[in-house]
């Protein structure tokens, strides 16, 4: 029997009961589609989270005041309010740790901001110009403030694009305009480039002002709430983290590292924690989808067993006119494989459509990977073989005499 003969014979078999074939195939279609869609959702959200973490800056080590906590809880912890880190620490780090590319200090407070006719409530971050490098922030229009302006307590502000939109109408050039932050007048000198991110979790809705100004007018002390250090290369990140820890322990006269009054955290820790969480989530989603694929496979086996029983006489006839065991087995195996392969292809298309719809409607970022498509297709073909083998073997072992007599 040539391949063409086999396909011809099997398609006749499958088309003879279209409703049953269709319903059985639907099981595989749903299984494959859900595997594709679930993996896409898992992938997509993992990519989104990684992109968000990386958008903070690269090769980053962060120091926050207060006792160290475990990595997991630090991810979303707000900048510490403990008063242990000073500008002197920042200067010491930048002068004594050569592996640090740039060191930036910041303080954060949430303030009411008023522009003529408009107002908003947003994060006001006091920073040094090094913050631009360390956190990968860039200026879209206007300029950022200089170290001199930090020293001279210049009341200037650089707005995030979302904040700008909240405070100024689209046709107004914000550069040179004045805004009031908690009653203090500031001149807008620049707008940062948008970094994206979802509402409530974006760096676009922020106002940057000189660190010294923030300390004086909003915080009321000389402490900093965050030191961000960019290592020269990604290999140096851990090194820098250790050096910073050692330096600060020495400066703060603490001999026991477990009693440190600050904590350090590097970006790869955050990334690995986040990716292990999203990885688990993806695996869980895929497992659920996999179960539905398995159920689809059992449906195939059920249908093939029914088919073999129903077509006992046909099998008997085929054997009587010269079909060998192998011919019969192959025919039924190809039948179940055709079911799962066609079902698999439809499922892949459906799964990709679902992912696409989820993405364009903004419900989820779903990212269909080639691996998941190949995986789903391969698994469905294998299901065809595995669940089709037993019915096919049963068909091939039928005795032609018994089979011809079967009513």
């Amino acid at each position: 029997m040539t391949i063409r003969d086999l396909l011809d014979q099997t398609s006749t078999g499958l088309l003879s009961n279209k409703v049953r074939t269709g319903l059985t195939m639907l099981g595989i279609v749903i299984g494959v589609a859900s595997v594709i869609a679930m993996l896409a959702i898992g992938n997509g959200s993992s990519n989104t989270i990684q992109a968000k973490i990386e958008s903070i800056g690269s090769n980053l080590v962060e120091v926050t005041p207060g006792a160290p906590r475990s990595v997991g809880t630090q991810v979303r912890a707000s900048s510490g309010s403990a008063k242990t880190l000073t500008m002197d620490d920042v200067t010491a780090i930048s002068s004594q740790i050569p592996d640090a590319e740039a060191v930036a200090a910041s303080v954060t407070s949430r303030e009411q901001v008023v522009a003529p006719g408009m107002n908003t409530n947003t994060s006001v971050i006091g920073v040094t110009p090094a913050y631009l490098t360390v956190r990968d922030v860039s200026v879209d229009t206007g300029t950022f403030f200089t170290d001199d302006q930090v020293t001279s307590l210049a009341k200037v502000a650089v707005l995030g694009p979302t904040t700008e939109a909240d405070l100024f109408a689209a046709d107004v050039d914000p550069i040179g305009q004045t805004i009031r932050i908690n009653g203090n007048v500031f001149t807008v000198i620049g707008i940062t480039t948008s970094k994206g991110g979802s509402a409530g979790n974006t760096t676009d809705d922020e106002i940057y002002i000189p660190l010294t100004v923030a300390q004086q007018y909003f915080i009321g002390n000389q402490y900093v709430s965050n030191i961000s250090i960019e290592a020269k290369t990604s290999e140096l990140v851990t090194n820098v983290q250790n050096e910073v820890t050692a330096l600060l322990l020495q400066r703060h006269n603490i001999s026991d590292p477990t009693k440190a009054d600050f904590s350090t955290l590097n970006q790869s820790d955050i990334l690995s924690t986040a990716s292990s969480i999203t990885g688990t989530m993806t695996a869980l989603l895929a497992a659920i989808a996999g179960i539905s694929l398995l159920v689809g496979g059992i449906g195939i086996m059920n249908m093939m067993l029914t088919t073999v029983t129903e077509r006992t006489r046909e099998i008997g006839l085929r054997k009587a006119i010269g079909a060998k065991k192998g011919d019969i087995r192959l025919q039924f195996l190809i039948e179940s494989m055709m079911l799962t392969i066609i079902g698999g292809i439809i499922g892949i298309i459906l799964g990709m459509t679902i992912s696409w719809v989820l993405t364009i409607t903004g419900m989820e970022t779903a990212d269909v990977s080639l691996v998941s498509v190949i995986l789903a297709f391969g698994v469905s073909a294998i299901i065809g073989i595995v669940f089709g083998y037993y019915p096919a073997a049963r068909a091939s072992n039928l005795n032609p005499i018994e089979a011809l007599r079967y009513e």
């Binding site: 006749t12 054997k319 009587a320 006119i321 010269g322 060998k324």
Partner: protein, 257 residues
């Protein structure tokens, strides 16, 4: 040539042993038209299964064209059936909802005959079996009983077998249609020289053959030349749809002659 030497077949069902065929010997020459006749339970079906290489005897030897097929494996028997035997069954056993021509081609698929050659041979077989050309692309369930059985005969002919086994071929047909089918067998035997074994329990069916082997309780009770052979005088084209006698149909007869 077919040669049976003391063929025995026992069926074992638990402790009970049923002796279906109890030592049967005969020889059938090429080109003979033989009827094996006996009541139900006589062992004629069992004998037919053995002669048709669907089953092997418990003991004894069966030579088909000089080859002993009594000790072959399942797949070897499949080979014998594919190459040397054509079956016509009482219940037709066509593939449902499948074109006539595809039904006829089926044995050639298992013989791995080249697709173009297949069609040629299937058409030749359909002509020999006397099915009008207009029906060749009908689906098998759109045909009448007589037409279906002729498709089955064409299918049995298509591999050019040394032996055609017809198991109660008229059992599901009315007398008139049955006559046409028997006439077809007679023509195939006389004009094309096919060896035919007809299994039946009715004497007037058996009397269409040249030789009748009578079997009862697993043994041959008589094996003699049929003295009063019936010749169907129904014309091949005068089928059950008499109004459909067409020019094409008579052309088939011309080709056959």
């Amino acid at each position: 040539m077919i040669e049976c030497k003391d063929i025995k077949k026992d069926y074992i069902n638990g402790d009970e042993v049923t002796k279906a065929v109890k030592g049967v010997s005969f020889t059938i020459q090429d080109g003979e038209f033989v009827a094996i006749m006996g009541p139900s339970g006589s062992g004629k079906s069992t004998l037919m299964h053995i002669l048709g290489a669907l089953d092997t005897p418990t003991s004894g030897q069966y030579f088909l064209d000089g080859k002993d097929v009594s000790k072959l494996t399942d797949d070897q028997l499949s080979d014998i059936r594919a190459n040397q035997i054509g079956f016509v069954f009482q219940s037709f056993n066509l593939l449902p909802r499948t074109e006539v021509i595809k039904n006829v081609i089926l044995p050639l698929i298992y013989l791995k005959v080249d697709p173009v050659e297949r069609i040629k041979r299937a058409e030749q077989a359909l002509l020999s079996a006397g099915l009008e050309q207009t029906r060749w692309h009908h689906l098998s369930n759109q045909l009448s009983g007589g037409q279906i059985q002729r498709v089955a005969i064409a299918r049995a002919l298509v591999n050019d077998p040394s032996l055609i086994m017809a198991d109660e071929p008229t059992g599901n047909l009315d007398t008139r249609t049955g006559e046409i089918v028997l006439k077809t067998f007679q023509d195939l035997n006389k004009k094309e020289g096919h060896t035919i074994i007809l299994i039946t329990h009715e004497l007037d069916i058996a009397e269409h053959a040249d030789r009748i082997i009578h079997i009862r309780d697993g043994v041959i009770v008589s094996d003699e030349k049929n003295k009063n052979k019936r010749i169907s005088n129904i014309s091949l084209c005068e089928n059950e749809n008499e109004e459909k006698i067409t020019a094409e149909c008579s052309e088939i007869v011309k080709q056959k002659n």
